[in-house]
């Protein structure tokens, strides 16, 4: 995290010599994808029927499907976080924003005239997401207009947001009864979990918005060199502002899905620490915390890795107390394998070995 604070440009080192292959997407995502596969293999060894998928009432069931479904909230939050990080920012408030969105939606549903009606869910969710837009505008204002460091600016809402969510729910655990709402988490369309489809849909939408237009390139330009971008006429402030709004909306969607999963909202605990999982997913996906180039595909893989990890820990009988330790271990391993410096060290060793041959030739 010091990377975000340290605005000095990374010094040019020998590591700044990516081979051609190094820039290929496949190469960058090699380790996270391998990690997922290794975990699945471990799962299968522990439980040979781990990968089985059943069809029941036209829906798919099984551990893999669960992983996909459970990855949705982190994937959504990480998606918004990817763009925020690409502009050299960070958004710590996403967990609180998710809680607020859930609190708004659930209380609206409970308070609506017909608590079970589909329209109640639609109205409540729209309201919740509108609130998220406002929260994003607030974050974006602090960062892009007032120029407050993103980590500090979003810390404000991270802390205050939970309080706000508590106010909305009156400090109660609110439990709406509405089938449409719970379907957000547990429903299926075309045999696949709705939650996962929402996340994928958002990813696809974002991909189109950033890569089919010039938005992605402009975001990257702002993240790599804000001053140069401004002088070249890029509306850096607007872009920064927009990504915080987008990040908040993504967090709101995630909050709705999490609340729908348990049909309840606890303002204290909903989405707690999800910002850290999201940041991890982004970093594992190969988007650097120093901003600049981002990879949406990488973020998807990162989110899937975290979901797989969460599923694997109990299935191979790791005691729940060691949960966090194990998670930390896997994350460190993946990040280490991805780190340019670690890779350079490996490469140098490889070359040293090959050198006598080169001299002889």
């Amino acid at each position: 995290m010091t990377d975000t604070l340290d605005r000095a440009p990374a010094p040019e080192r020998g590591a700044a010599r990516p081979g051609l292959a190094g820039r290929l997407l496949g190469h960058q995502l090699l380790w996270p994808v391998l990690a997922i596969i290794v975990m699945l293999v471990i799962d299968v060894i522990a439980n040979p029927s781990f990968l089985d998928v059943r069809i029941q009432d036209g829906h798919l069931y099984g551990n893999v499907i669960d992983i996909a479904r459970n990855s949705a909230p982190v994937m959504l939050v990480a998606l918004g976080m990817t763009l925020v990080i690409a502009t050299r920012g960070i958004d710590l408030s996403v967990g609180a924003v998710a809680a607020i969105a859930a609190a708004v939606a659930c209380t609206r549903i409970v308070e609506s005239a017909d608590e079970g009606a589909a329209s109640a869910t639609i109205l409540a969710s729209t309201t919740a997401l509108a609130v998220c837009v406002l929260l994003g505008v607030w974050n974006g204002f602090l960062v892009s207009v007032l120029g407050i460091q993103p980590i500090i600016a979003t810390l404000v809402l991270m802390v205050a947001g939970r309080g706000l969510a508590m106010l909305i729910t009156d400090g109660q655990i609110t439990t709406p009864t509405n089938d449409t709402f719970s379907n957000l988490a547990s429903g299926f369309v075309l045999g696949l979990p709705i939650a996962f489809l929402i996340a994928l849909g958002m990813v696809a939408l974002t991909a189109v918005l950033t890569r089919r237009t010039a938005l992605g390139m402009l975001i990257e330009a702002v993240g790599i060199n804000p001053d140069a971008s401004r002088l070249a006429g890029v509306r850096a402030r607007t872009i920064t502002w927009t990504v915080y709004v987008f990040g908040a909306v993504c967090a709101g969607l995630a909050g709705l899905i999490i609340a729908a999963n348990t049909n309840s909202v606890n303002a204290n605990s909903l989405g707690l620490w999800i910002e850290l999982d999201a940041i991890l997913a982004v970093v594992i996906g190969g988007t650097a915390l120093t901003g600049g180039r981002f990879s949406l595909a990488g973020t998807v893989v990162g989110a899937l890795l975290i979901a797989t990890l969460v599923r694997t820990i109990p299935s191979i009988g790791i005691p729940s107390e060691a949960n966090y330790l194990f998670k930390a271990f896997v994350v460190i391993l993946v990040c280490l394998l991805q780190s340019p410096r670690a890779r350079a060290a490996l490469r140098v060793r490889g070359r040293r070995g090959a050198q006598p041959k080169a001299v002889a030739a």
Binding site: M217, I224, L231
Partner: protein, 524 residues
């Protein structure tokens, strides 16, 4: 530059000593690009050794190979008689090789003194002794004739001062080898002279100095020996005194340079400027950077801004473009009198501004050459209207060719280009927007002699087609060769504006000096 050829270079016989550094058959490849191919270089104690070559020839790479920024693929490096390969720049520094890289590598939000003494701060009871640090920094700066407050933030100073601070840092340590990669690229003649004094002193003390510069006059004034590179290959090692300028140029570019004479003829032809004002600034000022200044630009003319470091020439350019906002004054662009609040505003009014600080305010290192070139155009079209693939490809190809950018690869990462080639890409970024007003602050910074004439010709041609150009450069000859009108600046204001009918460098210096005398008499 004012230094003339009268300064006879002392002919130094082949030194009897061992070289302090000898690089033999160094090769480095980046991906598929071979940046250095079996290049050798010897450095002797007490000599100034010029490293010569066109943009992208491999000068900076050779330096970085020596100092451990890059690992070499093949070859040997002998330092002080022993084979030695540095793995980090810090190791090279510790072994007495002190380097100023081409792109100033200091920390903008530390003070000048902190930057100079970073890593070897004077301490007292374990804590950094700020007063001692500032005192020591001031002494070193004074040797370079530099009057800056050691306690001020480095980032607040223009690039030339930052460059001088980097040099001061490098010469302040006890080094056996001092490497200066294009240290003079944005310095005025005066600062160059002071730097040369320091270099001569170091040379007398037996220090070996590597010096890179695209100014041949400077090479002939200060350098003893030179190594000439072309396309990543060694051409020859030569004594400067035994090589004529013409010969040197031929060795560097591999053919005769024909274009040198062309410009003056072209420019004379274009010298009729129109009467239509494009931009009119009245009383433009900003506290601490520029006093009230008037300036009118007409279609089809090149206005040169002459002035020494700190005269306000860059500040004027920034205010004209809205990069900084003016406190007072009016700016009329094509008779629209709206205040310029941001660069974006200016761009929408068909203005363009190429900053002198290419690293901090130009280059987007992690994007490709193509993206860098098209950034300003894309930004003004808005994100919803990406430039169509075909147009993109055509524009990028045309400008890579027109400016002879190497490697000619639109997908190369900008940060991997040599300094001069980056500068060309940034020029292309603005030319692509087809502006009415083109403000160029040190556009030829770090560009080799061949390309420099090419760019000057380009500017003259653009003006002939109706563009209004503001041309700022520390190199007065260049300003005078190109411009129809000259604005002379001093002490953050315009002191004189005169049509350029054979104004000479000494005329300009006289105006600046005369003004200084007047000011002194006024206060006396």
């Amino acid at each position: 530059m004012t230094h003339t050829q009268e300064q006879v270079v002392t002919v130094r016989p082949e030194p009897s000593q061992q070289p302090v550094v000898e690089m033999r058959d160094i090769s480095i490849t980046f991906g598929t690009v071979s940046a250095l191919d079996r290049v050798s270089m010897r450095l002797f104690p007490g000599e100034v050794h010029a490293l010569m070559g066109e943009n992208g020839a491999g000068k900076s790479t050779l330096i970085k190979a020596l100092t451990g920024v890059y690992t070499i693929d093949a070859g040997t490096i002998v330092v002080g008689g022993e084979e030695h390969e540095f793995h980090t720049p810090a190791a090279a520094q510790a072994a007495g090789i002190s380097t100023v890289y081409q792109e100033v590598n200091l920390v903008p939000n530390l003070t000048v003194a902190e930057n100079m003494l970073l890593g070897r701060e004077p301490r007292r009871f374990g804590a950094i002794n700020v007063r001692a640090m500032n005192r020591r920094a001031r002494q070193t700066l004074e040797r370079l004739g530099l009057d800056v407050n050691p306690g001020s933030l480095l980032g607040d100073h223009p690039i030339a001062v930052q460059q001088l601070v980097a040099i001061a840092r490098a010469v302040d340590v006890d080094a056996r080898v001092v490497i200066l990669d294009e240290p003079t690229s944005s310095l005025d003649a005066d600062e160059v002279e002071k730097l040369f004094d320091v270099m001569r002193r170091l040379r007398e003390h037996g220090v070996a100095i590597v010096f890179v510069s695209h100014f041949l006059d400077q090479i002939y004034e200060i350098a003893d020996r030179m190594t000439i590179l072309r396309n990543g290959r060694l051409v020859e090692e030569r004594m400067v005194a035994e090589t004529s300028q013409l010969e040197l140029v031929r060795l560097m570019i591999g053919r005769e340079l024909e274009v040198l004479e062309r410009l003056d003829r072209d420019q004379r032809q274009a010298a009729v400027s129109s009467e239509t004002p494009v931009l009119k600034a009245v009383g433009l000022s900003r506290k601490g950077s520029l006093e009230a200044t008037d300036l009118t630009l007409y279609e089809g003319e090149v206005v040169g801004v002459a002035g020494l470091l700190g005269s306000g020439r860059t500040e004027l350019a920034r205010l004209l473009f809205g990069a900084d906002t003016a406190d007072h004054g009016e700016l009329e662009v094509r008779s629209s009198r709206r205040r310029l609040r941001s660069p974006r505003h200016a761009i929408d009014r068909k203005m363009a501004f190429s900053s002198e600080d290419r690293k901090a305010e130009g280059v987007i290192g992690d994007l490709t050459v193509a993206d860098n070139m098209l950034l300003a155009l894309q930004a003004s079209r808005g994100w919803l209207r990406p430039i169509p693939q075909a147009t993109r490809a055509r524009l990028v190809r045309d400008y890579i060719q027109a400016l002879d950018i190497r490697p000619a690869d639109p997908d190369a990462l900008m940060r991997n280009l040599s300094g001069g080639n980056q500068q060309k890409v940034l020029l292309a970024r603005w030319l692509i927007t087809d502006p009415d007003v083109l403000i160029l602050d040190e556009p030829t910074r770090g560009i080799d002699i061949g390309a420099k004439t090419q760019i000057q010709t380009l500017v003259a041609d653009l003006a002939a087609k109706g563009m209004a150009v503001v041309f700022i450069s520390a190199e007065l000859e260049e300003v005078l060769r190109l411009s129809h009108r000259v604005v002379v600046m001093r002490d953050r204001r315009k002191i004189r504006e005169l049509p350029n009918d054979d104004v000479s460098v000494s005329d300009v210096l006289e105006i600046i000096a005369g003004e200084a005398r007047q000011t002194e008499e006024g206060t006396a």
